[in-house]
Symmetry: none
Subunit: 210 residues, 4 copies
DNA sequence: GCATAAACGAGACGGTACGTCCAGTCTTCCC
DNA sequence: GGGAAGACTGGACGTACCGTCTCGTTTATGC
């Protein structure tokens, strides 16, 4: 099964979709998001400002939420930083701090909100989560498995839970707002987590290797 | 300094607000929330079903979101379970499992969504967070400080971060949905955290009390 | 440069306005007017009963008053009777009696009220006046000028004032209600006016011919 | 026969109505009428600006229209000018010109509108008509009957119709607005009417008796 | 002089309607 | 024959007033 859906190589009948319209829509959606926030991103407003018909928008996205996610994704990297150097701990700390930095912005809050508000089952929501969340998780996962291979750490419990405990606090503070997203926050997360991950041979939290 | 502003003991002029109307609104809002979800909670629908004028609703709440939060709050306990027994670890595990249980429901998802979607600055949103989130935190905090006093654990970093790492993963999975909110999830969180908190004496994360 | 904007013969983009919707609105408005009167003609009621969205109504008329006028106009002739026969006096009498007949109905009162209540400057109010009032005036004017040409009457003063004195009493009694709009009313108006219009050659209003 | 129903001299129990409140209401209503017109005269606005409770207003008037009429009546004379001098024609002309003058004002239009819009059957509407309309008619009637007694004119048809033809054109132009309410308008009405009223001895406007 | 009763201000009540915004769908032209 | 654009139906918004109804207060009369 080969796919030729990305670009119609053989003549599809009918008028081809206007790439200019698509770009204008995303551009306008992004402007509105930055200027007025998620709540003001209505299909109608986008259509008017992008000089585009509403059905043209609906042809690409099923509702305003999906458009918002698409606009937020199209915008800028969002990917975790490139592979760092140094010890696993340093690399993990850099990773969390990069996450913090990325989401400690107006856009960060918008992304978190969009994700929380979205229909959990929609295709785009999954893509969005994958893009925004899972990439960070995979990066962290590789750091952790590398570290385990090196003997730097011992993964005693489900690594998924470790990943949750590393990333969740950032989004939690972002959405709940009970505590600031300070610089030291990332450091503290790593400190705590490292205590849990340190390989031990005595009594305490962890089992001896032998 | 005594306050009598909560209940007007001395005569305020004008017809007093109808407590019956207020209750009917909250009751109806809650019914709609349970039956149809947050998206269907419109002021108009509540007004009609509660046999109440729309302005009466707006007198109490500024929009449907605030009403939703009020209805979710008025509903049921939401408080963390009463003080458990046994070791600190067992009590903390019971605490996290209770949190999991509470939010692994339709209503749990609704609460999380309402919180994520709400205007972060509104009075009611703050009250809601306080009610839903902070009570759990305070409960966990007291377990942790007790445990520290007993020497069961050693709090080496900011306790706020510890609390985040204990609670955030639940909401994270709830909103992002990348992994299930299984029973073992709570156990794994506690396992990992306990490794970080255990007092140790050798190298590694912690020192033993000895 | 020719204009073809009055009627779009060549394609305007977008869905054309639904003539069916427009007719349903006017039809419903008319039904409500007849059944319940001007005061009950609300946009909301019309929208609901005509199975039409409120914005569709507002796309054509700016408020309920304009809709009322449009409905009253669209309804039935409202025009003065066709040219009669006989002497100018007989034709003028028939004219006034037709006016009386037309407005001695529920609808007549409604029309008069709508006209009195309307914003004097609105486009539709002008059109309405033109349709309801001025057509009658023009008809009467032609009778009078014909009669003058024949020597049947002599127009000694401003013909506009004559027209006012012929028509105004009908609306006056309609709105004020101090006296009935009886059959003999029209006759009396003509009698009085004819005394004023009779051609004379001597002193006073009139002189015997011989 | 003495009446003591206007002011209760014998003791009615309870607090007497506040004349100050009544005056404040009428005063405020009048201010709003002059400043913003009939459409803005709401009970709520009057209550607020007059520092009065809404029920106090409803105690006197059944709705905003009645209040409007009351305010318009309470305002200024509205009566026809005192008896003039000179010939009947001169006095009648003065009368019509006074009517013109009175209603060629913002307030004139408001009065005419209020009268046209009012429930024809309500007590106050009747009183209002009586006050505004009938007083003028009675004045004109007395001029006409005096003139007939003097032989200045001959009333050949229903005097009510004559009165209508004298007064109606003013209100007609006021409400319909098809022609200006100029100074010469009154003169022309009188000219035309006088032609109809002149006593004759031959045939002409009227048929000789024999 | 003290109870009674009505009118007072204030303001919340259930409602109706407003005029607007936006969601999605439908219909027509144009490419 | 699909894309584009605008009018469509319809649901909800938040506001303005309606006319009614408590409230607690004030101000008279009459027991």
């Amino acid at each position: 099964m080969s796919q030729d859906n990305s670009k119609p190589p053989v003549g599809k009948p009918g008028r081809p979709r206007s790439e200019a319209a698509r770009r204008a829509i995303l551009q306008t959606a992004h402007e509105i998001l930055v200027a007025d926030g998620l709540g003001r991103l209505t299909i109608e407003a986008v259509a008017e400002r992008a000089r585009v018909g509403k059905p043209t928008i609906y042809r690409y996205w099923r509702n305003a939420q999906e458009l918002a996610m698409a606009a937020l994704m199209a915008d800028t990297p969002l990917e975790p930083a490139a592979e760092g150097h140094g010890s696993a701990r340093m690399r993990l700390q850099a990773h969390v701090e990069h996450l913090l930095e990325t989401f400690t912005t107006v856009r960060g809050r918008q992304i978190a909100q969009a994700m929380a508000a979205a229909d959990q089952e929609s295709e785009l929501a999954k893509a969005f989560r994958s893009r925004v969340i899972l990439q960070y998780r995979e990066k962290a996962r590789s750091i952790l498995t590398d570290a385990q291979a090196n003997g730097e750490i011992a993964l005693k419990t489900d690594i998924e839970v470790i990943l949750d405990m590393l990333h969740a606090p950032v989004f939690y503070r972002l959405l709940v707002g009970h505590q600031p997203l300070s610089q030291s926050f990332g450091l503290n997360i790593i400190d705590t987590m490292w205590a849990a991950l340190a390989p031990t041979n005595g009594r305490g939290a962890t089992l001896p290797k032998s």
